[in-house]
Symmetry: C2
Subunit: 499 residues, 2 copies
């Protein structure tokens, strides 16, 4: 076996074990009986240990060295590039450090949960300080060129740096923040009594969920829809993609837009190149691109007037009687309420990125400067006042709301905003090639858009790095402009405000 | 780490990987999307390869040798005994032979399916001949003392031999066969119009299934009920046991008795000793004992008059209107129709063991003598005539009906009958200790019986070999007498025939 073949063989084994892990995780979240938890932890720990052993096998290091002087084609080079990154990431951290960090994360998870529960930052403070210390240390192990924060960003989106992110967030800061302030002082929101006064049976929500997902093009012979407390998209590979949602009979939007979000992730997974199955290059291209596919269907399409026109009769069928006296336009206004709020996960598509921007600014300071954790809660509140014009009344609705930091997942938040920006940029490019795009959405013909994504994004796997893929698909490097244009047009239509 | 600790460590890893395999198999049978099949085969193959590598690691052979001279307690000795058997079985077959046999099995599966479909034994003949040749060769690798067939029997029930089985089947041959012939010439079966003329909605069947399983004592916080084409009991361990059934709206008995059967398997799995989790000795004690637990609840309890009295009101609740004019006694008669039939899987509890006895006689000849496969179909038919008084009109209803032989699973059938015999013997012993057993069943109080099984069977894991466990629990070695007594009493009550 030559070196390249051996590389593929080893990566295939790692991928198979990872796919098995994803089936077990899905099962755990969705259908495992309660008492199965303890032994499931044993199963997952064994798989993780097995994978780690294979990933850090010194033989992989040797193969990489051997191949670096070889003449490789595009696919081969990409496989080598990704393997090398994976190997470096897995071997650069001393085992002692990894173990100590894992223990700290689990401890910090507990103290964060208690702190949030009791609305008392002091309970989390000490562990948070340790998380920051270890994360800073981690950046030194990972290595970086300019900012230590770059080392963290790169974990979630290859090649992402502060230098690349700053201009994107600048665009949002300068354009979106004023827009929101104007809407919140001048905009008039529609009456939502019809929504609050009706019951929305689970059966109807399930039917809506299923039919919309099928219409978008999710293939249910290669996937499933289920329900779970924390909605997600999982499953082992393109032929077996499993997404979940949750149902609340007092509120039908959560399950619909959640379903469209996960359907977006799901179509990406189903569209990955099957000829590159089990190769690193066949995998999805990072979290930002993944999020672009979910946000595209959830927001850009799902909250458009054209989609509301198509989906309205389906709402009428799913919820007989509930939609009397309503119109597609009223539905559209109801799914597009924009107003500043305190909780990221409940925010609308306009304010969402400001929540992320605040976290980005804090994370940069946390990692680049020697800020004391004591200062972070007030910094959080002051940034909410500055960009959203509101101040959290307590820590629970402020700095303690997200789980990410206690898990040491610093550098993750920006990928959410990248998803929104990429979605707008991709849709703008797709619309140039799809004749009568709006009319197609209005008539429920989603396949031209899905096929554009299949061709330009899904089928490309990880051959390119994320920023290159966006440029390859749209003709321009990542930019905040299409998103700003999109949101500005929308607020103008919705609120008559020209930002 | 001393040798015994290392043995446990290695067996734990093997057990974890096997548990993972069982989750993936369950998923494949029950909920996997259609297109997931191909990659699932890759997942399972990788797990099997990984397990095989660990099981055949020469280091295990060394550890076994070292431990054999050590002073071990009962649990330790049992762990050593089971590991040794597993290691010998896994290492005694040359890898070439294993691979060739696996290929032959897959090929024979196809030719058997086609032969059955076309009712043409000739299509299967050649592969069947090869299966027999390789199976005979396998017995030489496995080793045996008296009969080569012993080597095969031992695979499915440790310690089982022709010497042990012959007297059990003799008992059945001498007692049950005449009984059946008398019933079929003189017995009068009840009118089943009520059953055929009603529709039996799936919802009602599911409710019946669930309530009966809960009443028996299956713990749904440590397990699940689902539906699948081929009902089975699976899941990774005592805390996560998953059984399935199937529903046919024209016939409600299949799902109920199927559910009680799998619930029996399920309670055994849930009752395994948790303090011995991940140790060989903590596993169930072979197929015969397992089948005793399923048959106990399906037949001995499920088809008793007392159970029918308890369950009748539940039938009324599950199928409103359908049970009008019926009584518990009529229900009892309907679930106990006894008559000779051609297909094993559709046969009743009286004739079932004659189907198995016929297969046992043929298998013995197949392995011990040099019979030509050509002769087997007619041998089959003549034995059906001899013991059941009927002759298959074609091969499809005769020798081609079962999947076992094309899979090379020769020696498996007898465990089904062992299950029935053990069930009767265990129930007879339990009834001696449980006060007013019949009355307890009549009032739906199943816990004394389940607890007896927990104490005497489930919690014992594999500390003893199957025949020892039966003797330990009942005071006598395995015997056909309790089953014959049970069936004789029952036919007398049902048909007024004193066999």
């Amino acid at each position: 076996m030559d070196y390249y073949q051996e590389l593929l063989f080893r990566m295939r084994e790692i991928e198979i074990a990872s796919q098995i892990r994803s089936i077990l995780s899905w099962d755990q979240e969705v259908i495992m009986p309660k008492n199965g938890a303890e032994s499931r932890a044993d199963h997952l720990a064994w798989l993780s240990k097995t994978i780690h052993k294979k990933v850090t096998d010194p033989k992989i290091g040797e193969i990489i060295s051997e191949l670096e002087s070889d003449k490789l084609d595009e696919i081969q080079s990409a496989n080598l590039r990704i393997t090398k990154k994976m190997y470096q990431r897995a071997t650069c951290l001393p085992p002692d450090f990894v173990e100590k960090f894992a223990r700290l994360q689990s401890q910090a998870h507990h103290s964060w949960a208690e702190a949030r529960e009791k609305d008392d930052f002091e309970i989390f403070k000490q562990d948070f300080q340790k998380i920051l210390q270890m994360t800073r240390q981690k950046t030194e192990y990972l290595g970086y060129e300019k900012s230590p924060y770059d080392a963290l960003l790169d974990q979630y989106e290859t090649g992402l740096t502060v230098t690349r992110l700053d201009p994107l967030f600048d665009g949002l800061r300068n354009e979106i923040s004023p827009m929101i302030k104007e809407i919140s002082s001048q905009g008039k929101n529609p009456n939502l009594e019809w929504l609050r006064d009706s019951n929305w049976p689970k059966r109807g929500q399930e039917m809506l969920s299923q039919e919309v997902s099928e219409a978008i093009g999710f293939n249910f012979e290669s996937g499933r829809r289920d329900s779970s407390v924390h909605p997600f998209c999982g499953g082992p590979n393109p032929n077996d993609v499993r997404w979940t949602t949750r149902y609340d009979e007092s509120e039908p939007f959560g399950s619909l837009f959640g379903s469209m979000h996960e359907t977006g992730h799901g179509t990406y997974e189903q569209g990955r190149p099957s000829e590159l199955a089990f190769q690193p290059v066949g995998k999805a291209c990072g979290l930002g691109i993944h999020e672009s596919q979910s946000r595209l269907w959830e927001n850009q399409i799902g909250r458009s007037i054209e989609f509301c026109e198509w989906v309205f009769p389906l709402w009428e069928r799913c919820f007989p009687g509930n939609m009397e006296g309503l119109t597609p336009k009223l539905l559209w206004r109801a799914v597009n309420i924009m107003q500043p709020s305190l909780i990221r996960t409940e925010s609308d598509e306009a304010t969402y990125n400001l929540h992320i921007m605040i976290r980005y600014e804090i994370e940069k300071i946390m990692i680049e400067d020697d800020i004391e954790v004591d200062q972070i809660p007030d910094l959080w509140d002051s940034l909410y006042q500055k960009y959203l014009g509101i101040t959290p009344p307590n820590r629970k609705l402020g700095v303690l709301q997200d789980i990410h930091w206690c898990m040491g997942a610093i550098g993750y938040f920006p990928t959410y905003t990248l998803g929104n920006l990429y979605a707008a940029q991709l849709l703008e490019a797709a619309k140039k090639e799809i004749q009568d795009h709006d009319e197609k959405i209005r008539t429920g013909n989603f396949s031209p858009l899905l096929n554009w994504m299949r061709r330009n994004i899904h089928s490309k796997g990880s051959i390119l790095e994320p920023a290159e893929l966006i440029e390859d698909a749209t003709g321009s490097p990542p930019s905040p402009d299409p998103f700003v244009r999109y949101l500005s047009d929308k607020t103008s239509d919705l609120y008559g405000i020209n930002a």
